[in-house]
């Protein structure tokens, strides 16, 4: 088997393992925010219902977190196992972000998780709340460092290229033969971390994670309400999640627009593929949906004339670079990038509509009017809406990463140059089969246990009788003060 097979297999393996992993961290980040809100409400009001809510969603959080931890270590290994040449080339720049992620994020998350999960009734309520905040912060920090590292691959900055031990002038590109003797060396740490796409992409990723957490809570709460179970609990949870979902969905529109704008400036070939734009032109159209005829170099489907130019420069006269401006070997795979991007956009719009329709019902005082067929239909929509952010997060990453192709470090190093020299196709095939089997098993067990948790539902100890006296006393004090 030739080098091509190793490349395809290694790419498929990385894509598969990281896509599977990425089901869970957004849930941890999003649920983390919701847990912080619920526990804050509990501490503020002293009402046992908020305590039970925080408790129940913590259990769901624990499950998603465990899956995230178990599948997360794989990627850190894979840079070295499958992409050793890449690792040698970028270690000086990219490695420190990974190490910082461990020191500043993972320890915080996993350490305080112990208190979050096992500290109920063992530590004071305030310390427990502090731990919840720390876990939530840790989850956000992990996104900061890994998105910074990934953004550096998209828009590399703050480094120079060293060839045979000498710093090369700006613009030097190592050839295939030179790559083994070259490396990127850091020149400005903060320019590397805060490279041109970090902040845009970080905000987009975090808000997408909040959506993932909020819609999971919406989905399960709506399920309970439809079944007439845990009514009070589900109503309160739904309200908290709806606030987060409505805010995040609208914010996502802004971070998405900002990200697309950044892609246009920094990775024009990627943007051209996202929109299927071949000709460099003013009055560039934006597709709502369609099919790219790559050979005919056109898009068939519904397009808004001039819209892309409008978004690019607030005028239809703005010139947008098309794919024809780039040599064919520098094109990303156009069709998948176009389709994944448009799936993400479509879902993003739908999520805004779903969340704000809920806000509208709430405003009209009809959100919990379960005798209304409209409201029941809306709840059914909410139950399946949990898939929305998941699919949008996945397709968004596929857009970002496939759109970066054929580069592993944009404009500097090709993906095919980053492979491990000593790893053979049959080895990668073996590990890919192994991951497929393990992850299929894990996913089945995860879904089963999540369903069980949903079936079992929250504790109904409305009086808090199982709590230690100090917790009950705190709640009574708070409740008295609120009244």
């Amino acid at each position: 088997m030739g080098g091509m097979d190793v490349e395809i297999l290694s790419r498929v393996q990385f894509a598969f393992t990281i896509a599977f992993h990425y089901i869970y961290p957004p849930l941890s980040i999003g649920l983390g925010v919701i847990l912080v809100i619920m526990e804050a409400m509990w501490l503020k009001t002293g009402r046992v219902r908020y305590h039970n809510m925080a408790r129940y969603w913590t259990r769901v959080f624990g499950l998603t977190f465990a899956m995230g931890v178990a599948t997360g270590i794989v990627m850190e290994f894979e840079f070295g196992t499958n992409w050793a040449t890449y690792s040698r080339f970028v270690g000086d720049v990219f490695g420190s972000a990974l190490a910082a992620e461990g020191i500043f994020a993972f320890f915080l998350e996993s350490g305080f998780l112990a208190i979050l999960l096992f500290g109920w009734n063992k530590v004071g309520p305030k310390l427990h709340f502090f731990a919840t905040v720390m876990v939530c912060l840790g989850a956000h920090f992990s996104a900061v460092w890994i998105v910074a590292a990934n953004s550096w691959m998209q828009t590399p900055a703050g480094f120079s290229i060293e060839y045979n031990g000498e710093i090369m002038p700006q613009g030097f590109l190592p050839t295939a033969d030179q790559i083994m003797h070259s490396r990127a060396v850091i020149h400005d740490f903060w320019a590397m971390v805060l490279n041109p796409s970090t902040l845009d992409r970080l905000s987009h990723v975090l808000v997408g994670a909040w959506q993932a957490g909020a819609f999971l809570v919406l989905s399960i709460s709506a399920f309970y309400l439809l079944r007439g179970r845990h009514r009070e609990f589900a109503m309160s949870s739904l309200k908290v999640a709806l606030v987060v979902a409505a805010t995040a969905s609208l914010l996502q529109l802004a971070t998405g627009a900002k990200s697309a704008d950044g892609v246009m400036r920094n990775q024009p070939a990627k943007l051209a593929a996202m929109e299927g734009l071949f000709e460099t032109q003013s009055h560039a159209p934006m597709a709502i949906f369609g099919w790219v005829d790559v050979e005919g170099r056109q898009v068939r489907g519904l397009q808004i004339p001039g819209m892309l130019s409008m978004l690019a420069g607030y005028s239809t006269d703005t010139v947008v670079t098309g794919l024809n401006a780039f040599p064919r070997e520098d094109w990303p795979p156009v069709q998948p990038v176009f389709q994944f991007y448009h799936i993400m956009i479509g879902i993003g719009m739908a999520l805004i509509a779903i969340a704000w329709f809920g806000v509208f019902l709430w405003w009209r005082g009809r959100l919990f009017n379960l005798s209304s067929r409209l409201v029941r239909a809306y709840y059914m929509m909410l139950v399946i809406s949990v898939l929305g952010p998941q699919i949008a997060n996945q397709t968004g990453w596929f857009t970002a990463e496939m759109g970066r192709q054929p580069w592993i470090v944009y404009g500097i190093m090709r993906t095919s140059q980053g492979l491990s020299a000593v790893v053979k196709a049959n080895q990668v095939l073996a590990s890919l089969i192994m991951f497929t089997i393990i992850y299929a098993l894990l996913f089945a067990v995860f879904l089963y246990l999540l369903t069980r948790k949903i079936q079992k539902g929250p504790d109904e100890e409305e009086d808090g009788s199982e709590m230690p006296a100090s917790w009950v006393a705190m709640m009574e004090r708070r409740a008295a003060r609120v009244e």
């Binding site: 499950l63 490695g95 190490a99 915080l108 350490g111 491990s420 000593v422 590990s431 246990l449």
Partner: protein, 338 residues
């Protein structure tokens, strides 16, 4: 130059912390199936429940630090040890989810399945970590670009396997001492007897390993002759190991545990002092070895990382210590337990 040495030490410290901390929960995993009763197994799981994933972060951070500080070592070892590391990942994944999933259902087959997953995952993780250490200590074949060219079977040599088994025994010993601290009553009495047995097994492997070093890795014996002070570290290490049964016998389980930690630290120190300044020794072409100099990142990256470590590590240590303090004492099974 000094920064290279500092980072050699710091990477060593991170992996030593990993051995001391995850070592005990891997060891508990290795002993898990020796507890026959369901309740005892739950006590074992909950003894490590709040802390095991924080312990594993030391591996993640150690790996990240290696990637950043010595990218060539990270790249060569991880790609050269491709299949063993994939097996290590599988083992780590299985034990992680086994801890989480096991007690979620009461069916016997369900619990047995995850019990086996937890135990096998723990044993294989320890074994594979030991095999990796064994190969690095003994040296592997590198070409002039610093790539591993030896193939899979060369990694599974008797010397590396022996070090792998020694690691399993070491972690089992460490885990049994930890369990003495976390259990009480009849279970504690049983676990206390395991401590002496695991020490015996570990010492047997350790003696065999030292003999095998003299026979199979003559260059290590040469190093020992060149660096006579290694013998002093070795002597201290043996005394510390022998102190473990003494403390255990006197009922000072915490001091026994500290001794066990110190034993691991001195073992890692021996390892580091032996291989220095090589990080991956090349055999039979020593000129291709990856050293702390030719495999290193730039001084600038080392300095940035040092700043990150100086800020981050004290914070991590302080709250990690607080969390161990909060969860001190004997395990009590509650509704929140595994």
């Amino acid at each position: 130059m000094t920064l290279n040495i500092i980072w050699f030490i710091l990477v060593g410290v991170l992996f030593t912390a990993y051995a001391m901390l995850d070592g005990f929960d891997l060891g508990v995993g290795a002993l898990h199936l020796f507890a026959k009763k369901d309740e005892d197994r739950r006590i074992f799981l909950n003894a490590i429940g709040p802390v095991w994933d924080g312990n594993e972060v030391w591996l993640v951070t150690g790996g990240g630090a290696l990637f950043a500080a010595f990218p060539a070592v990270y790249a060569t070892v991880f790609s050269g040890f491709y299949l063993p590391f994939m097996a290590l990942l599988a083992a780590l994944i299985f034990r992680a989810v086994a801890i989480e999933f096991r007690s979620k259902e009461t069916w016997r087959w369900w619990r047995t399945m995850w019990d086996v997953g937890f135990a096998a995952g723990s044993v294989f993780s320890s074994l594979l970590i030991g095999i990796t250490m064994g190969n690095i200590l003994q040296g592997i074949e590198l070409d002039e670009r610093g790539e591993y060219v030896g193939g899979l079977l060369a990694l599974l040599n008797p010397y590396a396997l022996l070090l792998g088994c020694t690691t399993v025994a070491l972690f089992a010993m460490h885990g049994s001492i930890y369990l003495v601290m976390k259990t009480e009553g009849a279970l504690q009495a049983r676990v206390r007897r395991w401590v002496n047995r695991t020490i015996g097994v570990f010492l047997a492997f350790y003696i065999m390993l030292n003999m095998a070093t003299l026979i199979h890795a003559p260059h290590l014996a040469d190093i020992a002759r060149e660096r006579p002070w290694l013998a002093a570290v070795f002597a201290v290490n043996v005394l510390i190991v022998l102190n473990i049964p003494r403390e255990n016998h006197k009922g000072n389980e915490f001091r026994a545990f500290l001794s066990s930690c110190a034993a691991m630290a001195t073992l890692m120190l021996l390892f580091g002092l032996t291989v220095f300044p090589d990080m991956v020794r090349s055999l039979p072409h020593p000129e291709n070895s990856l050293t702390i100099y030719n495999a290193a990142s730039t001084p600038k990256t080392h300095l940035i990382m040092l700043i990150i470590a100086v800020i981050g590590v004290p914070i991590v240590l302080s709250y990690t210590a607080s969390i161990y303090y909060i969860f001190r004492g004997k395990v009590k099974i509650t509704p929140h337990s595994y």
